[in-house]
Homo-oligomer: 337 residues x 2
DNA sequence: TGCCTAAGGTTAACCGCTTACCCTTTAACA
DNA sequence: TGTTAAAGGGTAAGCGGTTAACCTTAGGCA
């Protein structure tokens, strides 16, 4: 049987209170006693039970992380960043993949409450009513990552999607493109609309009229991107450049181009978004708008931690700047400027 | 304040024991009482605390998952598979990325013990002494995923690495290749050696002599693979085919080929291993040995669950068969057979 | 010498559930 | 009518820690 604090106390000839104080470095304990207790703990290979401690402390040192799919590289990278930052402060993670399924969201949210997480990070577009709203109103620490939960009193850490879209658009316009297709995620609550708006702003500044026939919706998969791109490229007057609202979709676009025998970037430029590791391994490597994923994960955790510790009075909204990473999937429009 | 079981009991005019029985469906409770208690719980929005329950039940319904890096697609996919299977049975996951750093491994192992996980899944090559051995000997449920822990009494779920290597080798040999370079992970305890052995077996059967100058070690990154491939391709009599011990390394090989101006597959064939999503997005798409990742995750969890429930007497070693997925990165050797 | 205080511990209640065991009521049955 | 037993629920002792409050001792100081 695993030794308990009682075993340690008995062996050391002290009370459990003393042992507890030694473990936590609280209270006043003489060096002599501290040393003896420490030795006994070592000897018994004692590991304090965090679940018992959690019960009295009313804190589990665990935070929940809800995301659409852990197998998606973007979210896996986010999760890793949060994990690392959390561990630095002694927190561990309860990760749940929702597949953007509202019923799973609700179920996992409830799980997190039952497991008594100290706070929740949400990287999934989610219903803003039901349990989540209830929790937010009860002041459960919550931070939204990369997606907004506009009607809820929670912290938000995200990238400037509009600016990112603008950068992508500007880049393409600068290369002389005037027919620019856009591939967007389906989800209403996703970040695509802002990215699109940004891209169109850049186009508008160059005097290019918005053309809704140049926007295609896709499901959040490579294949979704491929099909959407195929639709755009198969149209009457096909675009010379494609802006995909994330790297996964951009990869689909690359594939669609390949299938039509279009050279990238000579005959078609492609820009992605996120700058996941995927962008570095495509051929050609993908020009993309880079999200500071490490930073997002870290800041999001830090914000949550402040909430947990009650160090904050007001909800904050942190918007980080994206950066354009030019690789080899974009080039001046065919035929020159 | 969150309502407790006492609040529910009081409001329903019953004892906490009764409420507990209603929650867990144990004991004998009349329909009338059950209904009343259920209604009160709903009304109070009561969520039972799993941490309190864990303390008395001595079970947290949580399993630990140790892997090298959650941001690595292969492990992210494993994690996702385990997560899904776990949730089916009411278990959640405590994920820790070790970066193959022995000190982190030890630290996270200790964390898992303190958090009282019901079992541990290890997908990281790890020191087999220290805490892990101790736990294994104390019959803590443990299963090794994809890597063996030979000297420890634990269950193992893995793919037949030898066979996978053999399939890759056979495929290349069948295409007429005779100079086949191999890119291996560095780590001693990794699965590379078996994969290499399999590949060489296939070569030997074709009458090709082993040539150690055709093996290059790489760190587990795209860049590592790129450098290793560059070394092999830069040699005196360069190989016409490359077998990389995983997809990440294979992608590096693809890049190295591109840099040298070698056409894949016309001038160089490349085979990977794992069949992660990466293999589908490279250009050309990667021929690779497929691991049944879903299956591995699922089986591994099932084995662990059996251990946890004490339904098993003997340790088992489950070896799944890989499958060769031929895409477009391999072709008959230049110059024909 | 007497009083005060700091140092170093101890006591015991409590955290929110679970569960072995016990008690009461009622119906069945001989 | 008395006996049993099943049904339905209550009692209370933990689970392994934490912590407020309290106790004891000894040194400092007037």
């Amino acid at each position: 049987m695993k030794p308990t604090i009682y075993d340690v106390a008995r062996a050391a000839g002290v009370s459990t209170a003393t042992v507890s104080k030694v473990i936590n470095g609280t209270g006043r304990i003489s060096d002599k006693t501290r040393k003896r207790v420490t030795e006994i703990m070592e000897e018994l290979r004692y590991q304090p039970s965090m679940v018992a401690a959690a019960l009295t402390r009313r804190s589990t040192s665990t935070v929940g992380l809800m995301l659409p799919d852990l197998a998606n590289p973007y979210f896996a990278e986010i999760a890793r960043a949060v994990e690392d930052r959390g561990h630095e402060f002694g927190f561990s993670l309860l990760i749940c993949s929702t597949d953007n399924d509202p019923s799973k969201e609700e179920k996992y949210l409830s799980l997190m409450v039952q497991k008594c997480v100290d706070g929740i990070m949400i990287a999934t577009s989610t219903g803003q009513d039901g349990l989540l709203r209830e929790l937010a109103e009860q002041r459960m620490p919550i931070v939204a990552i990369s997606r907004e939960l506009p009607s809820l009193p929670v912290d938000t850490v995200m990238v400037d999607d509009f600016m990112g879209g603008y950068m992508a658009g500007k880049h393409l316009v600068g290369l002389g493109h005037r027919r620019i297709g856009i591939i967007a995620e389906k989800l209403g609550a996703s970040s695509s609309p802002e990215r699109i708006r940004g891209c169109r702003q850049a186009m508008a500044e160059a005097g290019i009229e918005a053309d809704d026939s140049l926007i295609a919706e896709a499901s959040y998969t490579v294949d979704g991107g491929r099909k959407a791109a195929a639709r755009l490229l198969g149209g009457g007057e096909p675009p010379t450049a494609l802006f995909a609202c994330n790297d996964v979709l951009a990869i689909g676009a690359l594939q669609a181009a390949f299938e039509r025998g279009l050279q990238v970037p000579e005959q078609l430029s492609v820009v992605g978004f996120d700058n996941t590791m995927l962008a570095t391994i495509t051929a050609p490597p993908l020009t993309t708008v880079s999200q500071p994923i490490q930073d997002i994960g870290r800041r999001a955790f830090d914000a949550l931690l402040q909430e947990i510790r009650g160090e904050k009075r007001t909800k904050q909204r942190l918007v980080l700047l994206p950066e354009l990473v030019v690789r080899r999937s974009t080039a001046p429009v065919a035929g020159g400027l």
